[in-house]
C-alpha cells in the first residue's frame, strides 16, 4: 500500500501505531477510575496496557511489512528507521510495564494513571521517531516529557520521588525552551520547519547562517539535555535515584532512546550539511560524557545511582555515532539502543525485585552474598552487568563494536580511543557489583531469606537475558534489520 496523503485518512494510517496506543492509553485511564475496586492491585490494568502495547506492535508490523510512502517529505515519516525505533520503545515499555506490576501493587500507586502515563509517553516517543517536521519533534518531546515528569513524582508519599519530579520538570521545561528557540531560529534561517526542506535550504546555501548556527547550537543544547550529555547531565542522578525504580528503568531505556532517535534524524538528515559546524560541539559533548560519566560512576556506593551514571556514560558512547554520522554508525546506534534497552531494563528489573518492600536495598553492601542467596537472579544480574560493561559474548560488546566501526570509518581516532579506555574503566564499577554478589558475605542483620520473584518478572528477566546473549553471539539478524533501517536515511537530499 502506498501512502501519498491525497486524503486525510492516509495520515491516520501513517500514524496507526500511535493511534492504537493513544486509544489504549485512554481505555486504561478510564478502566482505572471505573469499576469498584479502586486502590486494588491493578494487575489487570497492567495486562490491559500490555495488550495495548502488543496491538501497537502489530500496527507497527503492518506498516513495516506492507506500507510505503510517496517521497520523503511528508510531516510523518513512514520509513524503516522510525518503525525499527518504535519496536525498541514498545519493547522497553512492555518490559517496564511487566516489572511494574508488583511494584505498583506493593507501593499502592494509582494503577490506571501510572500505566496510561507510560502509554502516552510511548506515543510521544513514537511521534519523535516519526517526526519529519521540527514541530512534530517538539510535540512528541513534550508529550513524552510531561508523562515522564508525572511518573518520576509518582510515588507521592516519598519525598525523594517528589523532588525528582519537580527537579526534572523545572530543568526539562527549561531545556524545552532552548529546543523551541532553536527550532524558531532554524525556521527563521531556512523558512521551513520541515526537516527535508531545512536540509535543502542548508545544502543550497540559502539559509541565513547568522540565524542557522545559533539555532543549531540551541537545538544541540536541548537534545543534549534530554540525552543527559555531560554539561547538561546534572539532573540525571537525582532524578533517576528518586523516581520509582520501574520508572527509572523506563526513563533510562526508552526516553533516552527516543531522544537519540530524534537527535539523529534532525542533525544527520536536516542539518547534515553543516556537520562541520556542529561536529566539534558533539565531539566534545561525547568525549566529556564518556569520561565524566564513567569516572563519577566509579565512586558511587548506591547501585541505582551507579546505573544512573552508567546511563550517562552510555549516552556518551551513543554520541560517538552522531559525530561519525555515516550509515554504519547510524545503524550501530539503532542496534546499540536495542541492546541497551534490553540490558538496562534487565538490570533495573533485578534491582526492583531486590529492593523488595522499599526503595532501600539498593546500596552496594546490600548486594553482598546476593548471588548465593538468589542464584537465578544473581546469574541474570551478572549477565546484564557484563553486557553493560561490554564483555565479549554479550550484546553490549557487539553494540560497542559496531559503534567503534562507524567511528573508525569516519576516522575519529581520538574518540575511538576514549571509548575503549572509558569502557575499561567501566568494568571496575560494573564488576564491583558482581564481586559483591558472589564474593562477599551478606551485610550484618539482614534476613537471608530468598526473594519471592513474580513469574512475570522472571519471564522478563529470561527474555532480556536471552536477547542479550543472542545479540552477543549471533548479532546478524538484528544488525541487518538495524542497518536496513538506516539505509538511504541520510541521503534523502538528492545529490548528497
Amino acid at each position: 500500500m502506498l501512502l501519498d496523503y491525497s486524503s486525510g485518512f492516509h495520515y491516520l494510517l501513517a500514524l496507526a501505531p500511535e493511534v492504537v496506543l493513544s486509544v489504549a492509553g485512554m481505555v486504561v485511564l478510564l478502566a482505572g477510575v471505573t469499576g469498584k475496586r479502586e486502590g486494588g492491585p491493578g494487575h489487570e490494568l497492567g495486562w490491559l496496557s500490555l495488550a495495548g502495547l502488543a496491538a501497537a506492535a502489530v500496527a507497527n508490523g503492518w506498516l513495516y511489512a506492507g506500507v510505503a510512502e510517496d517521497g520523503a517529505t511528508a510531516m510523518i515519516a513512514v520509513d524503516r528507521f522510525r518503525l525499527f525505533a518504535n519496536w525498541i520503545f514498545l519493547l522497553g515499555a512492555a518490559f517496564a510495564v511487566v516489572v511494574s506490576l508488583d511494584y505498583v501493587a506493593r507501593q499502592k500507586l494509582q494503577a490506571g494513571e501510572y500505566y496510561s502515563l507510560i502509554l502516552f509517553a510511548v506515543v510521544g516517543m513514537m511521534f519523535m521517531a516519526s517526526a519529519r517536521d521540527l514541530m512534530i519533534v517538539f510535540l512528541g518531546l513534550e508529550l513524552m516529557s510531561i508523562g515522564v515528569y508525572a511518573l518520576a513524582a509518582f510515588n507521592r508519599r516519598d519525598r525523594r520521588s517528589a523532588e525528582a519530579g519537580l527537579k526534572y520538570f523545572l530543568l526539562g521545561a527549561f531545556a524545552s525552551g532552548f529546543l523551541l528557540f532553536g527550532i524558531a531560529l532554524v525556521y527563521g534561517a531556512t523558512g521551513s520547519t520541515n526537516i527535508h526542506d531545512v536540509a535543502v535550504a542548508v545544502q543550497e546555501g540559502t539559509a541565513a547562517r547568522g540565524l542557522l548556527l545559533p539555532g543549531v547550537a540551541l537545538l544541540a543544547a536541548g537534545f543534549a539535555f534530554k540525552v543527559s550529555a555531560v554539561p547538561f547531565h546534572m539532573w540525571t542522578p537525582d532524578v533517576y535515584q528518586g523516581a520509582p525504580t520501574p520508572v527509572t528503568a523506563f526513563m533510562a531505556a526508552s526516553v533516552k532512546s527516543a531522544a537519540f532517535v530524534a537527535f539523529l534524524r534532525v542533525f544527520l538528515v536536516g542539518l547534515g550539511d553543516v556537520s562541520s559546524e556542529w561536529g566539534p560541539i558533539l565531539w566534545w559533548l561525547s568525549a566529556a560524557t564518556m569520561v565524566a560519566g564513567n569516572l563519577i560512576a566509579v565512586v558511587q556506593s548506591n547501585v541505582k545511582r551507579m546505573l544512573a551514571y552508567s546511563s550517562i556514560a552510555h549516552g556518551g558512547y551513543l554520541l560517538v555515532a552522531l559525530v561519525a554520522g555515516n550509515d554504519t554508525a547510524a545503524g550501530g546506534l539503532l542496534f546499540y539502543l536495542l541492546v541497551y534497552t534490553v540490558m538496562n531494563v534487565g538490570a533495573f528489573a533485578v534491582l526492583i525485585v531486590a529492593g523488595n518492600q522499599s526503595e532501600r536495598g539498593s546500596r552496594i553492601e546490600d548486594f553482598g552474598g546476593f548471588g548465593w542467596r538468589n542464584p537465578v537472579l544473581g546469574v541474570f544480574m551478572t549477565i546484564f552487568l557484563l553486557s553493560l560493561a561490554g564483555f565479549p559474548g554479550t550484546g553490549g560488546f557487539m553494540a560497542k563494536l559496531f559503534l567503534l566501526q562507524g567511528a573508525v570509518e569516519a576516522r575519529l581516532w581520538v574518540l575511538s580511543v576514549i571509548l575503549v579506555l572509558t569502557t575499561v574503566v567501566s568494568y571496575w564499577y560494573y564488576l564491583r557489583v558482581a564481586w559483591y554478589m558472589w564474593m562477599k558475605d551478606a551485610p550484618e542483620g539482614t534476613a537471608p531469606a530468598r526473594l519471592a520473584v513474580p513469574i512475570a518478572a522472571h519471564a522478563v528477566l529470561l527474555i532480556a537475558a536471552g536477547l542479550v546473549l543472542l545479540t552477543g553471539v549471533f548479532p546478524g539478524a538484528p544488525l541487518e534489520l538495524a542497518m536496513g533501517a538506516v539505509e538511504g536515511l541520510v541521503e534523502v537530499v538528492a545529490g548528497r
Binding site: S7, G8, M26, L29, L30, V33, T34, G188, T190, G191, S192, D197, V198, V200, A201, T206, A208
Partner: protein, 127 residues
C-alpha cells in the same frame, strides 16, 4: 521548496509593532516620571500605606489555599482551549467539509475522555 525567506519585507511589516512598543514604553515611563516631578510630596502615614483607602494588609501573602481552586482552574483551562479550537472551526465549518469535522470530533472525544476521568475521580465535586 522552502517558503519565502524572511528578509526585508518581514522586517518592514514588524516595524509598526516596534513603533507601538516604543511609544507605549515612553508613555508609561513619561507618566511615572512626570507625576514624580510635578506633584508636591507631603507624605502622611495614611498615604504611604500600600492601599490608601483599602484594608490594612495582614499576614503572609504565601497563604495555603484549598487544592479545589486549583482543580477548577485546570478544568477551566481545558474548556477554554476547547473553545479556542472549536470557534474558528465552527465559523468556517461549511466550507471546510468533512475532514476537519472528523478531526474536531476526535478532539472533542479526547476531551470527553478527560472529562469522564475527572468526573469519576471526583474532580468536579466541591466537598
Amino acid at each position: 521548496m522552502p517558503r519565502e525567506l524572511p528578509g526585508r519585507s518581514m522586517t518592514k511589516s514588524y516595524a509598526p509593532i516596534l513603533v507601538i512598543l516604543g511609544v507605549s514604553i515612553l508613555n508609561a515611563v513619561g507618566m511615572v516620571v512626570a507625576s514624580h516631578v510635578l506633584n508636591p510630596s507631603r507624605p502622611t502615614p495614611q498615604k504611604s500605606m500600600p492601599y490608601e483607602s483599602g484594608m490594612i494588609p495582614l499576614g503572609d501573602t504565601r497563604a495555603r489555599f484549598s487544592v479545589k481552586f486549583y482543580m477548577v482552574a485546570i478544568s477551566f483551562i481545558v474548556f477554554d482551549l476547547e473553545t479556542i479550537f472549536l470557534i474558528p472551526w465552527a465559523v468556517r465549518a461549511r466550507e471546510l467539509g468533512w475532514g476537519p469535522f472528523v478531526a474536531v470530533f476526535l478532539f472533542v472525544v479526547v476531551l470527553a475522555v478527560g472529562l469522564v476521568y475527572e468526573w469519576k475521580k471526583g474532580g468536579l465535586e466541591w466537598d
